[in-house]
Symmetry: D2
């Protein structure tokens, strides 16, 4: 931690700051510039957490030097993590595809989709049973009934299954039926839910919040891992910007940035990011080329009949065509698929 | 709802769209332009909710004409609402000030603050017992113990009290101690929590999400009101932008926009929006001048000792000076204070 | 300037950095932390401008300590500036209102407006002769003919006049007719134009760029002042965000932020910021309450007939009503008007 | 164009609107809904440009149906354009790489780079002679001297050369030395410069503005093409968002969006978008996979010695390694390289 003093800070003000630092058992290094004085803090800065040094007389600003997340930080865990979900392993050797409908609508819809996406190469079946919807008057999901269809589809196909949870109650229920839970963009800072997901020990897909920085996202993952659950996969799904020709702006730079900062796998969801079916294929390829460990793609037997997010869903044929096209990209990236 | 067809849409495609609309018992109005054909839908568009018209052949895009929120919409409830919280009434006749510490730290800290802010003119005491914090290693709040201090402060001063709730459990607990609950920016789309807040019947302060549009915010309020609870106050607290000289960008335009779209009261929180103490006073005055029904301001007996958000907190003296300065602005705005 | 080394930086790497700093005649202060080493640079950091220290082995990042703008910086010029424009003086004692049509359309339109806005209290007449328009097929302005009408209106009313310039040619021409030139949001980083505006010596109204940080804005002003022209007034006019219910998001926090960082006056343009007539009045009052030195407001004899930006223009009656309402706000802010 | 009336609009108000439309020789189609009335306008809407229909009594809002750009619009020119620059042809069959230093520093620096990038597969040499810099105290470029080095490098290597122009003067000068001019992000709406670039007839690389929507970008291109110059290549270079771990947020979705809306080629600049050398390679591959027609990449003989943007520049070895890795991606995309 570095403390930058104001240009007109008095010697007394500087001394008060260094005294405060030393009173906590830390060391203060002074660097007196021609315009400003800088104080470096040496030692465990959490000892200063309650000191509000920003408010001390003569202090201009505080610059943190180390990240606030630890267990998900690559600095302390340099090798990439492998996360097992059912028979799938998400990590640097594989391109893992999660596919399925935005919302589960019926047993048949889900099972048909499961069979189709498995055939095309998906390793994990996705499907929403609890739908977070902007308006209370939109379809909210089949809830536990949908989870039962998930379990049936898993048994029938051997695919691992993932479902979003939007509350502690949904988390408890889903734990009985699925292999992996998803925490969606709107709940990325629902800290209660993150902690419970941590306690559950289940693999967690943590989507980036709509306006979350990468550091906030990694701190959200830290909530899960600090409860003892290291089974976390991150998912970039677009951030909110002023551009309106896509639903969100897919931030593919997040893939190499996460790779540099964390050991956790990161996948990409081009369906929600763009909201437009014809952009899913080019951005899926781009994600693999950027180094993503997997993709989450919406597939529906009849997008025009879907109760939720039809416009961005692929048909079975679209999806099969896409996975065929992705194979050489996976190979170039050194990934099995 | 208006359906804009593609320039090359065939007559058959247009007919399929109008047939679909009419099959749901609605009427379709055709408008054939020189370049494109437009189809207007007359009737209750929710009957089309599951139709995914965007995907029909030849459709370019769908333009919604009416808002998805109803009960909070000014169109259907033209007069402004008055929300009672303890002895306070939030609405067009009054400037209601909510003040107190970011986090409750002790019985004495809270009680001292309650006495000071009451003396300076605040009507409601705020204080955080459940703190949503970016890092799991930051102070998370005193929880129920803090709520007990809240109740004590209410009994001692007669002030109404408000506390943020971050989970269903916190909501249930808080309901026993406080007059109004706050749903914070990070939980604005925690729909489970919104529904429960609706069922509780308690007055709710609904903060705008960090990247929420005003329409999404009003839809979040619709979640609460559609459960039968009309006691909602909105709070603008800054949105996330690229500018870094303030913590967030306070969107004061939201005040007249909400006034035009909804009958609900709207207040402003300049403390969280800016994150900088010296900007709180000018933006408080600006909020009142823009038409806000109230303010939420952080006050702490010793900001430099605060466990959370010290840099933006006012001292008792600062706050007393501010409320004195606000009086003529309230008067100009036609509000008692 | 502070250099933060990587956690695994070798002693040799640190030595190379300090040697480089000292080879330029500066001093390097070492601060060895438990996790990272920090190097403070003492002396004139511009001597290091070409060194690309970010790329030296072992360097994690560079933190600048002082701002890159000097002459507009309050640190080196603590008292607020007063800028004279014709008979008007923009500064801390006065509320200066600039009003007029978005685009100049005819001699009569401009003169009628000049008379009306002068009567209502405006000190400066605005009007666009060179219009930057998103589409090449939109009305682009009357150019020099419009400037002549400006001069006529000035002679007839005694008002000072301001016009936007969008090119060196427009700047040269406008210099013959107007008292103040405006550099618009789209040209805030048209550095050639900024330098020429600096050389002209004319008072300059510098609007904030659509996505400019406050620091970039002040650096743009530094381009003008560093050519010897200190006659600069800043104008906040809304920034681009994801919110669509207003054209841009008016960042009123910019007013106190500029006040803290610079001695230059700052005014606010609520017409362009919101794009909606009925939001102009509440945000004008808010701007004055936040401490703005003036306002720029669009007024048109017949907004429904305007060739440009009619929806946000006030009628003469609207404007007269607004200035009447602003008087007590100006008085509260300690400003003549 | 569609006009949505307010729920309480009177019959007279609707009639006035339709009368106005018909008075311009257009046709108005009425669609009376249960809540609102909608008026479709049939005919050439530019006839209504000066009518400010938004302001007519009873009008809620106007929804445009057709884009304001015409000549760059794919609807009116369905086949992709091929743009010749020296010996290079930018278009669907080729991956065109533009590479070179951010700023031209010396004849030797530029020539060495030209030879290295040609060897590695670049078709066009880039180099900045006029540098738009945030601060007036940063290095501003060698100007015409730099352009002479450009011409030398072209003669020595046969590469086509491109240079950014920041003013009409720079454009005139550059036209004597280079094969293609670049209009940078900060000048994307410098309409004077766009028009002159249009008149010059030279191939133009038009970078996307920092906060420009894709529609504004295409309208900027329309300024060039409407002056008779169809030789335009678009360049996505990152947009401004709240995320700070990269300099800007690269919006790769822009590639398929442009492909859908326009016939112009689009390339990607991952160097400026990220500002970080190690992110250039993964995002270059991603851009090719997303369908980009080319890349613009910064290369410098000694990034640590660069006068501008060293941190994002590749060394010759880095660049050679990158182009080797890009070859199979180009092949997958069906492009020669």
């Amino acid at each position: 931690m570095i403390i930058i003093m104001k240009p007109d800070a008095s010697k007394e003000a500087v001394k008060k700051v260094t005294d405060l630092i030393e009173s906590k058992g830390l060391r203060a290094h002074l660097s007196e510039g021609t315009q400003v004085t800088i104080v470096g803090v040496v030692g465990d800065k959490t000892l200063l957490a309650d000191s509000n040094l920003e408010l001390a007389e003569g202090v201009e600003k505080i610059v943190p030097v180390t990240e606030s997340y630890k267990l998900v930080n690559k600095k302390f865990h340099p090798n990439p993590s492998y996360i097992s979900v059912g028979n799938a392993v998400i990590g640097p050797d594989t391109l893992t595809i999660m596919a399925g409908p935005c919302a589960i609508e019926s047993s048949k819809q889900l099972l048909d989709t499961a069979i189709a996406v498995k055939k095309a190469g998906a390793a994990i079946l996705r499907g929403g049973a609890y739908k977070p919807r902007t308006s209370p008057y939109s379809f909210q999901g089949l809830e536990e009934e949908g989870l039962k269809y998930m379990k049936e589809a898993r048994e029938a196909t051997g695919l691992a299954v993932i479902c979003e949870v939007t509350s502690l109650h949904a988390l408890e229920t889903a734990a009985k039926y699925v292999d992996m839970i998803q925490i969606g963009a709107r709940n990325m800072q629902n800290f209660e839910l993150l902690k419970e997901a941590g306690k559950s020990g289940l693999p967690v897909l943590l989507k980036r919040g709509l306006a979350a920085t990468i550091d906030e996202w990694l701190n959200a993952a830290e909530y899960i891992i600090s409860e003892g659950n290291p089974n976390i996969v991150l998912c970039e799904r677009g951030i909110r910007t002023y551009e309106t020709s896509t639903r969100n702006t897919l931030d593919l730079s997040a893939v190499p940035v996460i790779r540099r900062k964390s050991h956790l796998p990161v996948i990409v969801d081009p369906s929600h990011a763009t909201g437009v079916r014809e952009y899913v294929a080019p951005l899926s390829k781009a994600a693999v080329a950027a180094g993503a460990d997997g993709l989450m793609i919406e597939v529906h037997p009849c997008p025009a009949c879907a109760l939720s997010d039809g416009p961005q869903s692929l048909t079975f044929d679209d999806f099969e065509k896409l996975t065929a096209e992705l194979k050489p990209y996976a190979k170039l990236a050194g990934r099995k698929f």
